[in-house]
Amino acid sequence: MTDTLMPEILPHGPDGVVLRLGLTAREQTVGAVQALRAAIETAAPHGVEEIAGSLTSVYLRFDPARTTRAEVGAAAETIAAAADLAKATLPAAKRRWTIPVVIGGEHGPQFGEMAGAAGLSEAAAREALLAARLRVLAIGFTPGLPYMGLMPKEWDVPRLKEITPNIPRRALVAAVRQLIIFTNPTPTGWRHIGQTAFQGFDVTRDPATALMAGDEIRFEAMTPADLTGLEADNVDGLGGATCEALT
């Protein structure tokens, strides 16, 4: 084991670099990526105009008129070295969201299957879901779609080989120790374990994208009747979710 962890610096278009810490979303990699991203967001190198990322890498877009690829790479290496990524864990969250969800039943038809694949009873899986202190690790694929994780190790269940054709929008789905709330009806191999009234992206709302990478996420249980009530009065599209600032 080495006691230093430095990103591989890779080109992405003439105005971009990718800082990659791994090819797969291992727990240590995910923590180090969030720590590196937070460190860069705190002190963005000169000429960097955009910071985004995935579970395994951080993406920087720079203005080639104001800086160079070499300068951005060198600045990123300095930040990475100072962040001591080998020991890094998830940085403190700035916000905590609590999102109501109906778990299992007709609103989460694959919940039982998911619990079984994780070697848990439905009651234990439900408890784990409600006890989880998750983080938004990345937003992407489609606007406002959060990748949340990581769930405990037993939730490291691969996606289904057979695609489920039409999972509804705002559904909670699970795979590979991660959870997603869909923003649109989506065909997927992720298992449909619950239903929220939380709309991650709504162009009529400001901001349109509710969540940000780094946010803490907790789920609270609601009944199908609660869901019906939220859906009937959901002007902000947040589906009863609340957000508190953490200082």
Binding site: H12, P14, L23, R69, A138, I139, T142, T209
Partner: protein, 335 residues
């Protein structure tokens, strides 16, 4: 002022999109052929590009309530003003009561109709561009009335621009990307030696490439999703390449063999089904050295526009502008 759409093919309002929103999962979007909006701005004498109508393969019919200049760029389309043929890559003046009819594309996929004051529909997240995969905006429909800005120089003479050729495919320059190293040398060499054609499958998210031969494999089954963007050449699980365009998703788990440099992306976007495309390999240093800000490109284009003269000797490409244009009746798209 208002532009009224009377008939239309698949068309939508586009500008240069919404940059810097990858962290929200929103790709930049905007014109599939960004150069065409810069060319339109140059023809209209504008210092910054404005929003226009992007027309995919089929045009539209428009009228105005206030005289305005309109630039026509991108895919060359049949066009007539009050029944008289109109040359592409020019600007014209549309007066109230006159009908500008844009018909089918003769070459290329995306044509642009840009009023001098720009389309000024209500911005969403800082842009008027339709981003249909994100649920922003919509395609145009007959009867739509689009607010547009006032023409800043309504009396300016009509201009013409010889566009950078990009409607018939050809060699596309590819720079290494974050996942290029996940493909072995033989696979990369074969990719650059392969004659591709633009598939029938394609839209503003990306275009599929057809080819003869084995799939392009990579050893990356467990690859976690990473950020992706327009220009990336993604290999699906079946080893089929797709070139991602302006409305692509922002994260994906399929490996990408490289990134088309921005200068050559309009050439991919404009390729019609069956058009031949090949890829040539650039180093990162070569690609970086070619980069130019769009503001510089616009300055160069503004210096390249010339007054439109009706003397045939002065028209840059007699065949495409005059003889073919001259046989248009102007009513080919009548049902």
């Amino acid at each position: 002022m208002t532009l009224t759409i009377h008939r239309t093919g698949p068309a939508a309002v586009q500008d240069l999109g919404r940059p810097h929103r990858l962290a929200e999962g929103l790709s930049r979007g905007g014109a599939a052929d960004r150069l065409a909006l810069l060319e339109a701005a140059a023809l209209l004498g504008l210092k910054t590009p404005v929003a226009g109508i992007e027309m995919a393969l089929m045009g539209c019919e428009v009228t105005t309530d206030t005289a305005t200049r309109i630039a026509l760029t991108g895919a060359t389309m049949q066009a007539s003003l009050v029944g008289q043929p109109v040359e592409w890559n020019t600007c014209l003046t549309l007066a109230p009561g006159e009908v500008l009819k844009i018909g089918a594309a003769r070459a290329g996929t995306y044509g642009y109709l840009v009023p001098a004051g720009g389309i000024q529909t209500t911005p969403v997240m800082g842009s008027v561009a339709a981003h249909l995969t994100a649920g922003i905006g919509r395609v145009l429909e007959p009867g739509d009335r689009l607010p547009a800005g006032k023409d800043p120089h309504p009396d300016a003479p009509p201009m013409v621009l010889k566009p950078e050729p990009r409607l018939t495919g050809g060699a596309i320059r590819l720079m290494p990307g974050p996942q290029t190293g996940l493909f072995d040398d033989d696979t990369r060499a074969r990719f650059f030696a392969t004659a591709f054609t633009r598939s029938r499958t394609g839209n503003r998210q990306g275009v599929r490439l057809d080819f003869d031969g084995a799939p392009f494999a990579s050893g990356t089954g467990a690859l976690a999703s990473e950020i992706m963007q327009a220009g990336d050449v993604q290999m699906t699980g079946e080893g089929i390449p797709y070139v991602l365009l302006s409305e692509c998703q922002t994260m994906g788990g399929y490996p990408r063999i490289g990134t088309v440099i921005p200068q050559d992306l309009p050439r991919v976007a404009q390729a019609t089904p069956g058009t031949a495309l090949t890829f040539t390999e650039l180093t990162v240093e070569e690609a970086d050295a070619l980069w130019r800000p769009e503001a510089d490109l616009l300055s160069t284009l503004r210096r390249a526009v010339q007054p439109l003269r009706r003397d045939p000797h002065d028209i840059p490409d007699l065949l495409s502008y005059q003889l073919i244009g001259g046989v248009i009746r102007g009513d080919e798209t009548e049902a």
